[in-house]
Assembly symmetry: C2
Homo-oligomer: 503 residues x 2
């Protein structure tokens, strides 16, 4: 008895899901517009084939044999975790009717088109019927998955195992007062000048600068690459091929450059999952049918936010790299001191758009969405009331009122993509990033490295405690081993106060 037969099946499933990811990557970077429809079918066929293979008799037989083989192992041994992950995924998919999967997939392509059209015309009413249908299906999906307290819990857990709306509310309550206070202090100061960010910064030079930073952070460009796209993302086809993307901007649009740093963080996680986990359940999300080595969306986001915000926006980083930036984009920054530049990229100002949000206000955007989603799924909010609920919450929590629906409740693609439940992971990522970075920085070698723009000690620390484990450890196990406690908002609040409120 061994795991060999199971690994053969899961390996093939991993191949199919990696292939699907290649097709997604291509569709968002290089695919000509005519390819959209055929590509959608191809990706659906690959995902279906992966699901069918997981539910097939050979996988079930191999899983039985593998369970017998690891019966004597400790429950937290990687092999035991690997086998358990397959059993859990199989039980999960056995609960979801195939018909529901098909209806969700069909609705998603229609919904994306309806959303895009509604957004272009700034009219939520055009999207409302499709959103209502989406919510119906998401409720049915939650019912099929099962939950203890709230149907939305089943959806959060798709992205963050164990996540619940009650838990998120506790976390949000712990964050909210300080986020507001920090934002107010930061905005009360005179705004730093930032007009020089609108000068010419050729996109191709930005990409080259990002490649340089990626190399400095330890991202291996022989096992990855960086291309332009409209909505940046990271995707991997095993740890040996990890693709990053960035916005194509011709000015210094901070979300373009820092968005690229963000994706580097995701990419570092994927490139450093143990080779032994490649093509196994410990580097594949078998429930979500997605080729990913990170253990949860929140844990993944912690790595992107750590490199984007804690390293990439830090003073020591720019002390080391500002000269190179200035040279790369001369003469645009010739008359700009490091102080002025750094103040400009840290300027805080609340706005209606989440993807442009500064650090102190980002989670306020998240909370608003999570509450609206929970109320929609729980039946406490009617679809037609979403624009007004959004406007009221935005005005109350951020002091900003969107002009219409396009910069309000239609700004995100998540709902039309059927991704209810995923927003929470952005805040979990922010909190976990600060917690890990604070713990890492407490080590003398890491702190010394950061002061000298040598990111290897930090990378080694994260590889050992986070990256290499893939999905063999859960988010809270990683946190407990690395920091001695579960998810803790205190380091994040300390970071925000220090950076934005001069505390």
């Amino acid at each position: 008895m061994s795991l060999e037969a199971l690994r053969r099946e899961i390996g093939a499933i991993s191949d199919l899901l990696c292939a699907a990811s290649v097709l997604v990557w291509d569709s968002r970077t290089f695919m000509p517009p005519g390819g959209v429809e055929a590509r959608g079918r191809q990706i659906a066929t690959l995902t279906d084939a992966a699901r069918e293979r997981l539910l097939g008799a050979p996988t079930r037989r191999a899983l039985d044999a593998a369970e017998a083989a690891v019966a004597g192992s400790p429950r937290d041994a990687p092999e035991a975790r690997e086998v358990a992950a397959v059993r859990e995924a199989l039980a999960f998919h056995d609960r979801i009717p195939g018909d529901l999967i098909r209806r969700k997939a069909e609705l998603r392509s229609r919904a994306n088109a309806a959303w895009a059209a509604a957004r272009a015309r700034d009219d939520f009413a055009l999207f409302a019927p499709t959103l209502a249908a989406t919510i119906e299906l998401q409720r049915a999906y939650a019912d099929a998955i099962g939950y203890a307290d709230h149907p939305y819990d089943a959806l959060i857990a798709l992205y963050e195992p164990g996540g619940t709306i009650a838990g998120m509310r506790r976390l949000f309550d712990a964050l909210r007062p300080t986020l507001r206070e920090v934002g107010e202090v930061a905005e009360a100061r005179p705004a730093p000048s930032a007009d020089f960010l609108a000068r010419p910064y050729p996109a191709e030079d930005q990409r080259r600068f990002v490649e340089r930073v990626a190399g400095a952070f330890g991202f291996d460009l022989a096992r990855g690459r960086i291309d332009f796209t409209l909505h940046p993302f990271e995707v991997s086809f095993t740890r040996h091929d990890v693709r990053l993307t960035m916005r194509r901007a011709e000015t210094f649009d901070p979300p373009a450059l820092f968005g690229a740093f963000h994706e580097i963080g995701h990419g570092l996680y994927e490139q450093n999952v143990d080779e032994a986990h490649t093509r196994t359940a410990l580097a594949t999300d078998l429930k979500g049918l997605y080729a990913v080595g990170g253990t949860s969306f929140g844990a993944h986001e912690s790595q992107s936010r750590l490199w984007e915000n804690h390293v990439g926006r830090s003073r020591p980083f720019w002390e080391a790299h500002y000269g190179a930036l200035r040279d790369a984009f001369a003469p645009s920054l010739d008359d700009v001191t490091l102080d002025r530049f750094h103040a400009a990229i840290l300027r805080a100002r609340r706005g209606p758009i989440r993807t442009d949000a500064d650090e102190p206000s980002y989670d306020l955007h998240v909370m608003l969405r999570v509450e609206i989603e929970a109320d929609l799924i729980g039946g406490r909010l009617a679809v037609r009331d979403v624009p007004e609920a959004w406007r009221a919450a935005m005005t109350r929590d951020l002091g900003v009122t969107p002009r219409g629906d396009a910069d309000g409740c239609l700004q995100d693609i998540h709902w039309s993509s059927g991704m209810f439940g995923s927003f929470s992971t952005y805040t979990i990522g922010n909190v976990m990033a600060a917690q890990l970075f604070e713990a890492a920085s407490a080590e003398a070698g890491v702190a010394a490295g950061l002061g000298q723009a040598d990111y290897r000690p930090l990378g080694d620390w994260l590889r050992e405690r986070v990256w290499r484990h893939g999905r063999a450890l859960g988010r809270d196990e990683i946190l407990a081993r690395a920091t001695g406690r579960g998810l803790d908002p205190a380091p994040y609040l300390r970071h925000l106060r220090r950076r934005y409120a001069g505390a």
Copy 2:
């Protein structure tokens, strides 16, 4: 009873094969080096999944039902052809042991590496053991497929249905004397000056010029794109997404530009297969497990050679486009008249390398390979004697003696890729291209269009007679309908005499 269930299965198989082609395209254009191994496994898994789905019970049941449904149709009706193609492919794959497929795939990856290493060290002996193993497997493959006269026939027919070595020899005999004679006449003339081709021609500008030509030829860039690669190819993921590639050259290397015209021809064929054939057996090679709409390799090559040589190298083409070329690459051609430029790109000179060969000598390269392959598969030539056989044939047929193995019998990737049998289709393509172009040019509208750089009449003629049929008509059916006869070398010989021997 209907074809619906069969089309569902074949549609999914087409999706898997299109996905495999996306992965191949990426591996040859953008993939970082670290991805090689994982990518090989992913492509193998997709091809296996397609084969398993073809051989599975649902496809067999659907095929039985579809045969009943088309029982009353004429045998050459597209639906009847569609169903028959699935039956034929199923019977084909039922004959091939799964173990043989696996061994071939395993050997191929080893063989490619052995070939590359042997070629780099200019030493055939390093490749000989792998080639011997390849030939063993190719013989076993031919035996499993079945053949009447010669095992090599089974392999030729993989690429050109109905092809045999006896038939190829008849064709070669009809071509050889004129090819030699034309080559000698052309080379006896004073060589035109061509030094200006070595001036700067930036690769990115070449790509833009090729895009312009692609548009003029009728290639739809909203359903395709053109990227750089080392060994150019065309690949399609349905007619809605057709990818062309070209060499990245910084001088006017004629094979780079004309190679791109060549791929445009392949791309036109794929983009113009009837929409109704998309995702069916009439736009998928179910035997070769390859997503392709063209009916045979030879027919496909006829379209690439037609646009490359008959249109792209013609005097009227350059009368219309030379100005644009000159502007695009100024000042490199500022002092070069159209006459001098056109003479330079038509200069004939025999050399040892097939991919650099001029029109009159190209087929002599092909013949040499076909005879050596037939003798290797037939057991009349030992592997160790290949270098000497190659040198002797090259000296005899082309008057050129390769310096070593790298520019001799190790120059092509075909053997290490297990593609025994495919070389014949290059010559079939040349002959068919001339035959179709002569017939098309006999129509007043086509001829007038060509004189005015308006390629729509030619495109319409080819779409109607060749492209739209996909695999619903065989090569000889296309030729018979379009030209009133089967494959006929006379137009090709007339073309070569006219262009290169002033006849």
